[in-house]
């Protein structure tokens, strides 16, 4: 196997594959390599609907081998360290790869262990502790919702950035609707415990979401971070982010969005900023210290919501600027922070949030997207997955 690549891509997720496909279309794939340890690829935006009992989790899974573009080399290994000074990457299997240009898109990892009591309870039958944030645990969410017989259902969001800013609350909306359908809503308390200071990152959409919450009798507590679970007592400990005061909530089911962070080789390596994220220029997506390195996707420090829709707009910028640099030309492509968060508010209802770095709405459709719509739900549930598998990952959309 080659150990040197013109272009080496770290990560075979949404960002890595999209960039690889677009590069292959432009220059062929013979000198491109992708480092990705996983044999499976997941369309994670579907996991909200899997947790809501609408799709089986298997619908979100494909073989990675079927998605790697022709001619591109798949190095099935994980990255241990990147040394930008020598333009080399050490792998966990002991290999060393070198590159002329590097694209860093390893995604983020769940920090389950950061919350005491979570590892031993999440996804385990009978605990009531669930999470949509992994393939292994996502099916347990619907089991917990389906078997809920009333009491307190808690939904959490951590202080760290998460994949799709709306996802921690989407599952609450689906659960609340399911509780109505099963006749237990009257004897249930539905609470959203969000460590962040606002309900949603783009203020334009907050009033619409607040109306949904108020009209359906859900509760929201902001600035409350989950710091521990006591599975035996079914208690969750929350700390007020501002005052440090702790409160204990007893739960009958709890959906946990774990803290997320870049993998260790990024957090502790030379590519990271002070907070551990890949430090790229937010417009050109070029690394601020190592010009031959580009970064995109969830592990980057880009101040926007981490979504597949954002990657769809970031990938062409990385490709354009990387090829310009390779040709000795100025970097002209710019990313404006576009991201999209389809906030499912129930089965057949969705608020389609789209915004940029300035958190201003950048909406695709000529209608008020703050309104709950069936058409937007149908787009998310039935159109976007097809667009993803057959368009985006193939470099066509």
């Amino acid at each position: 196997m080659d150990t040197h690549y013109d272009i080496l891509i770290i990560g075979g997720g949404t960002a890595g594959l999209t960039v690889a496909s677009q590069l292959t279309d432009r220059i062929g794939g013979r000198h491109i390599g992708i480092i990705e340890p996983s044999a499976k690829h997941y369309y994670q935006p579907l996991w909200t609907l899997v947790g809501g009992g609408i799709f089986p989790r298997e619908e979100s899974e494909r073989d990675e081998a079927d998605l790697i573009p022709d001619e591109v080399a798949w190095i099935r290994d994980a990255v241990a360290a990147v040394d930008p000074a020598t333009r080399s990457v050490a792998t966990t299997a002991g290999g060393t790869l070198t590159y002329d240009f590097l694209v860093v898109a390893p995604g983020v990892v769940q920090q389950w262990a950061a919350i005491p009591g979570l590892v031993e309870s999440v996804g385990k039958p009978g605990t009531g502790v669930t999470s949509n944030y992994s393939y292994e645990t996502v099916a347990s969410t619907w089991e917990a919702i389906r078997s809920f017989r009333g009491g307190t259902a808690v939904f959490t969001e951590p202080l760290t950035p998460v994949k799709c800013g709306g996802a921690p609350q989407k599952i609450m909306y689906l659960a609340e609707e399911a509780f109505r359908d099963s006749g237990v809503r009257d004897r249930s308390r539905v609470v959203f415990m969000n460590a962040k200071p606002t309900l949603f990152s783009a203020p334009y959409y907050i009033p619409a979401l607040e109306r949904v919450i108020e009209s359906r009798g859900m509760e929201v507590q902001l600035g409350q971070e989950l710091v521990a679970l006591r599975p035996d007592a079914r208690e969750a400990v929350f700390r007020d982010v501002k005052t440090g005061t702790e409160q204990v909530l007893r739960y009958d089911m709890i959906h946990v969005t774990p803290p997320l962070s870049p993998p260790d080789f990024v957090r502790t390596g030379a590519l990271a900023n002070g907070d551990g994220w890949v430090e790229v220029d937010k417009f050109s997506l070029q690394h601020v210290r190592f010009p031959e390195v580009f970064g995109l996707g969830d592990a980057s420090n880009l101040p926007t919501s981490k979504t597949g829709a954002a990657v769809r707009k970031q990938a062409p910028v990385v490709v354009e600027n990387l090829l310009a640099l390779r040709a000795g030309q100025p970097l002209a492509a710019r990313y404006d922070g576009y991201t999209s968060c389809p906030v499912v508010t129930g089965r057949g209802k969705l608020i389609m949030a789209e915004f940029n770095y300035a958190k201003e709405p950048v909406e695709t459709f000529p209608v008020d997207q703050r309104v709950e719509r069936f058409s937007m739900y149908a787009l998310k549930a039935y159109m976007l997955p097809r667009l993803y598998w057959h368009g985006m990952l193939r470099g066509r959309a």
Binding site: R347, G348, K349, P366, V367, R373, S375, Y377, A381
Partner: protein
Amino acid sequence: MTPEATVMAATSMHPEDTVSAGATLQTIEQRTRAIAEVAEGLRPLIASAHQAPALVAVLMDSFDEAMRTARDRGIDVERGLMNGAEAAVRFGAMMDAEKVRDLDALLESGVLATGTLRVIGELGRALTETAAAPPAPLGIVGLLKALGQPDVQRALGFLVTVADRFGRRLREQTAAQS
């Protein structure tokens, strides 16, 4: 030398070149006119293209309003569409030409007539209620007692009449086949 020949000599042109250049000019003129006509024809389309977003907005708002109205009436359109599509596909996969003919016969029998559907609905309701609270086993004495109830008598009258007509049709069908 004629004045024209003098000009041609000065510009190194041959008499055939002028014919060819004239023809080219004429072709360009014709094509320009054709393009202008096409552009003119496209003008209404271009004008309406500016209205496309508004048209899309009207369609989307109307569609979503219809879906909201259905939901308010207790109809879950999303489930209905998905389950309906799956049921239709399964039903379609079970059919063959002979079954389609049998289905035709069923549909032409009047089974979908309003009155018939209502009766079938009542029968379905009775079955559901009975299944929800299954009755105790009935012996001869219980049966004789039940025969004295007006509702049982009404149902029996209905069923006996159905049996009479059903038997006549079976006899006619057997005769037609032999």
